[in-house]
């Protein structure tokens, strides 16, 4: 997730408003709103400070990049489709998987 969604998630978990987060952190609520809407990208240090003001902390792991970026390609393909088409294809794949599983089970 990116900064704006992390901030919204932290604020929701803490069940506090932008105004309350502003009071706790000393950051203007209007600026918090701009962070959450991705109009401004906070520095890492500022994001961590805001998350901590929600009573939470950020945790990171460094992992290797997927050089083939397989997921990105799959996601981009889905995002190019309509919501209805995405669901239709997802359900069709589900039916195929179930059919294969039942076939394999029947043979076992």
């Amino acid at each position: 997730m990116l900064s704006g969604d992390i901030l919204v998630e932290a604020r929701r978990r803490a069940a506090i408003s932008q105004a309350e987060l502003g009071r706790r952190s000393g950051v203007a609520p209007s600026l918090i709103g701009r962070y959450e809407r991705y109009e401004v990208i906070p520095s890492f240090e500022r994001l961590r400070e805001l998350v901590r003001a929600c009573g939470l902390d950020l945790s990171f792991r460094l992992v290797s990049v997927d050089a083939s970026d397989h997921d990105r390609v799959l996601i981009e393909r889905e995002l190019g489709r309509s919501p209805a088409e995405r669901l239709r294809r997802g359900l069709a794949a589900g039916r195929r998987f179930r059919s294969l599983a039942e076939h394999a089970g029947g043979r076992g």
Binding site: G4, E39, V40, R72, I75, R77, L87, L91
Partner: protein
């Protein structure tokens, strides 16, 4: 039994004017996450009138309790009072499996999910309220089951790519 068609479940809910939010893997799929989905998970409003409408839809679908031992499911009295007695129902219907969660993990239920839900047209004459991907992630994180945890990286990655498509060039803080 006819081949399962989860869209028929949603059509029955719409016919009975049930207030609900589509959640889970189907909602994630609609948002653009390349996951497979087989069944339908919904969060209905839990007020009495809505439970009456939900019960009518479930009777229309021939809903039965889903069990691991009986593929046909087990019959139960499908009425508002019964539905109000549990927070979660795992059902099998004439149109496929349906899971009802009144308060999915990490959320406060229908009113909470409705804030970020969007109306999506899924077929001709079928437009439904779908939970935001952010709320799907929130719920799966809170549920913490192995299968939910395994899906989280792909869900988060999709949310990132959606944001990349949505956002204007932002200001960078120094």
């Amino acid at each position: 039994m006819a081949e399962a068609d989860p869209l028929e479940i949603l059509r029955a809910l719409e016919r009975q004017d049930v207030s609900y939010i589509l959640i889970g893997a189907a909602a994630a799929r609609i948002a653009g996450v390349p996951v497979v989905t087989e069944d339908v998970d919904v969060t209905p409003a839990s007020n009495r009138e809505n439970l009456e409408r939900l019960a009518a839809a479930l009777r229309e679908l021939g809903a039965r309790l889903r069990t691991s031992t009986d593929p046909e499911g087990v019959s139960f009295p499908v009425d508002a009072e019964m539905l109000a007695s549990a927070d979660m129902w795992t059902l099998t219907t004439s149109a496929g499996d349906l899971d009802i969660h009144f308060t999915p993990a990490g959320t406060r239920g229908y009113d909470d999910l409705r804030r970020e839900a969007s109306r999506e047209r899924l077929a001709r004459g079928l437009t439904v309220a779908v939970a935001s991907l952010r709320d799907v992630i929130r719920s799966k994180e809170a549920a913490g089951r192995d299968k939910d945890i395994a899906q989280l990286p792909l869900l988060r990655r999709t949310l990132e790519q959606i944001r990349e498509h949505e956002r204007k060039p932002p200001e960078l803080e120094r």
